[in-house]
Amino acid sequence: ILPRAGLLDPQGQAVEHALAALRFEGATNVHVGRAIALDIAAASAAEAGAVVRRMCDKLLANPVIEDYEISVENGGSP
């Protein structure tokens, strides 16, 4: 979950400067957001993804200022 493109991202800027100061050249367009990890029981990865998408729209992400990406890992069968 990252700040929407175009929005000011003071954290991203601060980190970008800090990295530069530490001689990590060439790190650009740094953005800082939130990572949320959770387990859900779902029949398929697709279904899990769909549930999480609904979670993001309703709670996890703030549509006014944030965009999100979802990645599903199969935690193996129950």
Partner: protein
């Protein structure tokens, strides 16, 4: 100067939309206003010019509906150093000190994005104050929200409080007071009014007036992005009408940069490097440059291609209208530019020349050598048509004022007290102010939770008392009385600590002024505020108007909020709101007439919001204020607390429950004289003004009563403070009801738990902020 009437030349910026009636409407300009623009340019405006006009001729910047009414406010007084018209008002203090203060709304942005909206509201008001050369020493905030049983309202409340807190905390300015009220009209229309108080040496006062043709304009601070384009005109229409596309991009606050900007700005002013400086607030670069030019009677030329931008390909239109936060516009003599840039660099900031002061009176914008806007500057700022909307009170309002509660009360008078203390509007706001740093700067004498916050002026023995107040229920029922109440309560809160009320700033939050009943509320509330200010000798030094606070849910209650500053001559004499010691005498100041009209009691116990609010006796209020100040100065008071929402019973309960972190509660035996044989509920819960509950050590009571007599303030010994853990017992003279009795410890639980209990359910707000 030659500005007015000049027909000017400007060319459209390549690729810019052409100006059609549709585009004009989108910019929220009326046909009359557009005709005015055509006339004073002698041609069709470019899109950039149209945008500039739409910003400066928006209600937010032009006050086109409200200026005639605002002109009727009292703004003069021996203590006034700077009245309305600058970024903040300034009042004189002892020893060459002065106080700059101002309140401002950020309602619309907070309705869209509560956390960022509230945070950037605090940022804006801080800049208004340090722009004057003042060091911010206190913040206050006044909030209005819909009822907390609605999840959306809880989300807005949590996000707004967090936004206000995070920003002020990070910049390092203590929040010393505020208020929160809840009513259905604020669902979807939350109000966020932020107030900042700053200190300066009077001689260092900085005014935002550009002058000196050839002087340089520099943009200092954050880069310019596409944030909040159209914010000013957006803030001037109903949320319901703002079409998605017209919704400005959310402004994100950066309190870290703000702190650096604060330090750099004060250093620039104190070292005399700048001619003028103003923050880029609503309508950003446009309003800051145009207003500084108009105040100084000069022209300006801006080259938008020089402005540091955050995103490539920004047009002059976007750069002129961006509301990116944490930016200042500096006017300086050319030979100072390097020194200014050195100071900025020391504070990790950049200051970039973006234009110059001219002598042709024109407001000119060039981009890559193309003149994209050329407007007579004085007409741009002053030329907006002024409207005199119709004002008529709604019959429904009259009916509500005349109505009386029907049916049975929820409980007997004794049972009402816990109910009232559990009402979120009356309950402790500790859940709120606990999230605000109230001790940073280490000058806090009385923090939040009492009547007014008190801070010491560094290196002196005197201090300031600050409070914000407004009772929208009163205003809805009787706008003029409501306006008077707002000033009276603020002054009472300040005087209770022992401070003399000095002056006010006010924020008027109303609905759509084109509706006669709304404009009636506005006009009458202003009349009430003006009358009270005259009576108390507390001039209006500035403020802010926020109209169009309406959503599909409807309009808000009319909500004028008054921010008062008072002078406490000796901080060691400050008077707390809470009982201090067992066996102190309890003294009622002022007269209890048992007026229940418009009361919280009726609302909570009868579920009825109506009746006519108590009439404010301005002379009596002024006498009470003088008495409280004199008594505090003479060291006669153990405590003093004003009576407002919930009347005597609630005030007495608050005195017994003690400060937010009191390790103990105190009891009280109260006997309330009742010469007119009124029912107990009226005596206990009536909300007559001009009253306070005081306590005094046995040795000082006689003196206090004598002093009251000398000030012509009714005062009665009404019992004693009793031991820790003892009960609060109230006997109302001559009523058949037996004495009513409560355990302060239990009341305390109700009072402090009311809001946390309702906010326990957590939503997205737990992810808000860092």
């Amino acid at each position: 100067m030659t500005g007015a009437g000049v027909l000017t030349e400007a060319r459209a910026f390549p690729g810019e939309r052409e100006v059609t009636p549709e585009v004009v409407r989108e910019h929220n300009l009326s046909e009359r206003e557009y005709a005015e623009i055509m006339a004073l340019l002698g041609r069709t405006p470019t899109l950039t010019e149209l945008g500039i006009f739409s910003a400066l001729w928006s209600e937010h910047c032009s006050y086109k509906h409200t200026r005639p009414v605002l002109r009727t406010l009292p703004t003069a007084g021996p203590q006034v150093v700077q009245g309305p018209g600058e970024n903040a008002g300034v009042l004189r203090l002892p020893d060459g000190w002065a106080v700059a203060f101002k309140i401002e709304s950020h309602n619309h942005p907070s309705a869209v994005e509560p956390y960022q909206g509230a945070a950037t509201g605090v940022g804006g008001i801080l800049r208004d104050v340090f722009t004057m050369g003042a060091h911010p020493v206190a913040l206050l905030n006044s909030l209005r929200l819909g009822p907390l049983d609605d999840a959306r309202n809880r989300y807005l409340f949590a996000g707004i409080v967090k936004g206000v807190g995070d920003y002020g905390n990070c910049v390092g300015v203590p929040t010393l007071g505020g208020e929160v009220a809840f009513a259905p009209g604020y669902s979807g229309n939350p109000l966020v009014n932020a107030m900042c108080v700053g200190l300066l040496r009077e001689k260092d006062l900085m005014r935002a007036r550009a002058h000196g043709a050839g002087n340089v304009l520099l943009a200092m601070g954050a880069r310019t992005g596409r944030d909040g384009i159209h914010g000013a005109s957006f803030a001037s229409e109903d949320l319901s009408l703002a079409s998605g596309s017209r919704r400005p991009q959310v402004q994100v606050g950066d309190p870290f940069t703000e702190k650096l900007l604060l330090e750099a700005t004060l250093e620039l002013i104190e070292t005399g490097l700048v001619v003028a400086i103003q923050d880029m607030g609503a309508a950003g670069l446009t309003s800051s440059s145009a207003e500084m030019a108009a105040r100084g009677g000069v022209g300006v030329e801006l080259d938008t291609s020089l402005v540091p931008v955050r995103e490539p390909g920004m047009t002059p239109y976007e750069i002129m209208l961006s509301e990116s936060q944490e930016r200042m516009l500096v006017v300086a003599e050319p030979h100072r530019v390097e020194a200014i840039q050195a100071v900025s660099a020391r504070w990790e900031l950049t200051a970039t020349p973006v234009g110059r002061v001219t002598d042709d009176g024109l407001f000119r914008v060039v981009h890559d050598g193309v003149t994209v806007a050329a407007i007579p500057g004085d007409r741009l700022v002053e030329g907006c048509p002024v409207y005199h909307p119709e004002a008529r009170e709604a019959p429904a309002a009259i009916a509500r004022r005349r109505a009386r509660p029907e049916g049975e009360p929820k409980c007997d008078p004794a049972g009402a007290l816990p109910l009232l203390l559990d009402d979120p509007g009356i309950a402790s706001k500790r859940w709120v102010y606990e999230q605000y740093d109230s001790t940073v700067q280490a000058e806090t004498v009385l923090g939040p939770g009492g009547d007014a916050g008190v801070l010491r002026v560094p290196g002196t023995g005197f201090g300031l008392a600050v409070s914000v107040d407004g009772n929208q229920r009163y205003v809805a029922l009787d706008p003029c009385e409501g306006g008077r109440h707002a000033v009276a309560e603020a002054a009472r809160n300040v005087a209770c600590t022992g401070a003399e009320p000095l002056g006010i700033t006010d924020c008027r939050n109303f609905g759509n002024p084109d509706r006669p009943e709304v404009f009636f509320q506005f006009r009458e509330a202003c009349r009430g505020i003006a009358e009270a200010c005259v009576a108390f000798g507390t001039p209006v030094t500035g403020g802010n108007v926020s109209l169009y606070n309406e959503s599909p849910g409807g309009a808000i209650d009319p909500t004028p909020v008054v921010g008062m500053v008072g002078l406490l001559r000796d901080v060691t004499k400050r008077v707390p709101a809470w009982f201090q010691a067992p066996r102190d005498y309890l003294i009622l100041l002022g007269e209890t007439r048992g007026h229940l009209g418009g009361s919280s009691y009726w609302e909570v116990v009868y579920g009825f919001t109506g009746g006519s609010p108590p009439a404010v006796d301005l002379a009596a209020e002024a006498r009470l204020q003088r008495l409280l100040v004199a008594a505090a100065g003479a060291g006669l008071l153990g405590s003093a607390h004003d009576c407002s929402d919930g009347g005597l019973a609630v005030a007495l309960a608050e005195c017994c429950m003690g400060e937010p972190y009191a390790a103990r509660t105190l009891g009280a035996e109260a006997f309330i004289p009742n010469p007119h044989d009124l029912p107990a509920e009226a005596m206990l819960y009536g909300e007559d003004g001009a009253r306070a509950v005081a306590s005094a050590p046995p040795g000082r009571v006689a003196e206090l009563l004598a002093l009251a007599r000398a000030h012509a303030v009714p005062a009665a010994i009404a019992g004693r403070v009793t031991d820790p853990g003892a009960a609060l017992r109230i006997v109302v003279e001559g009523t058949r009801e037996p004495a009513v009795s409560w355990s302060p410890a239990e009341l305390r639980r109700v009072f402090f738990d009311a809001i946390p209990r309702r906010m326990a359910a957590r939503g997205r707000d737990v992810l808000e902020g860092r």
